[in-house]
Amino acid sequence: MKKLWDLFITWFKMGAFTFGGGYAMLPMIQKEVIEKHHWATEDDIMDYYAIGQVTPGIIAVNTATFVGYDVAGVIGGIVATLGVIAPSLIIISIIAGLITNFSELEIVQHALKGIQVAVCVLMFHAILNLFKKGVKSILTFFIFLFSFLLAYFTSIPTMILVILAGVVGYVLTILNKKEGTSS
């Protein structure tokens, strides 16, 4: 029971303080899920993000379901998901009911500009961490570089790039194995 409550509260916090969708949640996931509760490793989170790109649904919700499932099975998946969507339900219902010009309020705009800069700083640390964990050899560096270039400079859907990267990873492993057994 305590575990489910922890799951709910932790994902509630992340839903309440993430501005700008799935990727912006990364610094919070590193702090809460990886460092504080040890529910997942950095590798796990990268796997979940990759799977989240090729499966339907919102990445933040998919990641919450994954982590919840690992901690407490299907019930855990449902509880973590309810946790991450609950703040949106509360906040948006209040805004939709009371302050329809919310995003035009000057104080909101100034606060958001500040928050955007904070997200930049948080993402800077998050990507450095991920880079250290995920890019360990020349080969993985090239996969990283090509994925970045294709994602940034072309309009190929990320879903296709994920499938490509998976195929490349698979082929390289097979080749490595053959070399290992023949020599």
Binding site: G15, A16, F17, G20, G21, Y23, P27, D43, M46, A50, I51, Q53, T55, P56, G57, I58, I59, V61, T65, Y69, D70, G77, V84, I85, P87, S88, L89, I91, I92, A96, G97, T100, S103, Q109, K113, G114, Q116, V117, A118, V119, H125, I127, T140, I143, F144, L145, S147, F148, L150, A151, P157, T158, M159, L161, V162, A165, V167, Y170, L172, T173
Partner: protein, 186 residues
């Protein structure tokens, strides 16, 4: 069919077919707006603006907003639960499969390719966030206007602060930055 059920069905379909995150739901919502006339394209624009300026995943914010506009709080809950239901089902199934196949060399190989690729995708997303937050992209070429000096200064300050206090919780950093934004009219 009952309009409430029809709305839930439409959001379930959106959750099932929108691949690649919150912004992928927008074309589906546009289609719903045009097909049923439940809300106008102008309302949708307001909804996008509010969803982006409030915390939480954008797709969830949007479904809550549409649901609330149509049926109040029950609508907000119905629309959002319908939106996330397909991913909860699909991800639980994948998580179960993944547990059984985690040690298979094939799955390991695939993930060895995926992990560095994900770092690349995230870097690409981060650069877009940086351009939007620290520069006036629309003034590109006009070098006195291009740099958002206040934001860049705040960025350097917060970055230094984060190295000085590496244990600082992201929530605290966000709160500090929001306060500075309001006080200095960023």
């Amino acid at each position: 069919m009952n309009t409430f059920l029809l709305m839930c069905l439409e959001f379930f379909k959106t959750g099932l077919f929108a691949v690649g995150g919150g912004l992928a739901t927008i074309p589906f919502l546009k289609e719903i707006a045009m097909k049923y006339g439940w809300f106008t394209i102008e309302t949708l624009t307001t909804m996008i603006a509010v969803s982006e300026s409030t915390p939480g995943p954008i797709g969830v914010n949007m479904s809550t907003y549409v649901g609330y506009t149509m049926f109040g709080i029950p609508g907000a809950i119905g629309a959002t639960l319908s939106l996330v239901a397909p991913s909860v089902i699909i991800i639980c199934a994948i998580a179960k499969l993944l547990k059984s196949f985690k040690d298979s060399p094939i799955v390991q190989g695939i993930f060895n390719g995926l992990r560095p690729a994900v770092v690349g995708f995230i870097l690409s997303a981060i650069i877009s966030i940086y351009l939007n937050s620290l520069f006036h992209v629309e003034a590109y070429g006009n070098w006195t206007q291009f740099f958002n000096w206040k934001a860049i200064l705040l960025f350097c300050g917060l970055l230094g602060f984060s190295y000085w206090k590496p244990k600082l919780h992201p929530i605290v950093m966000i709160a500090i930055a929001a306060t500075i934004g309001i006080v200095f009219q960023l």
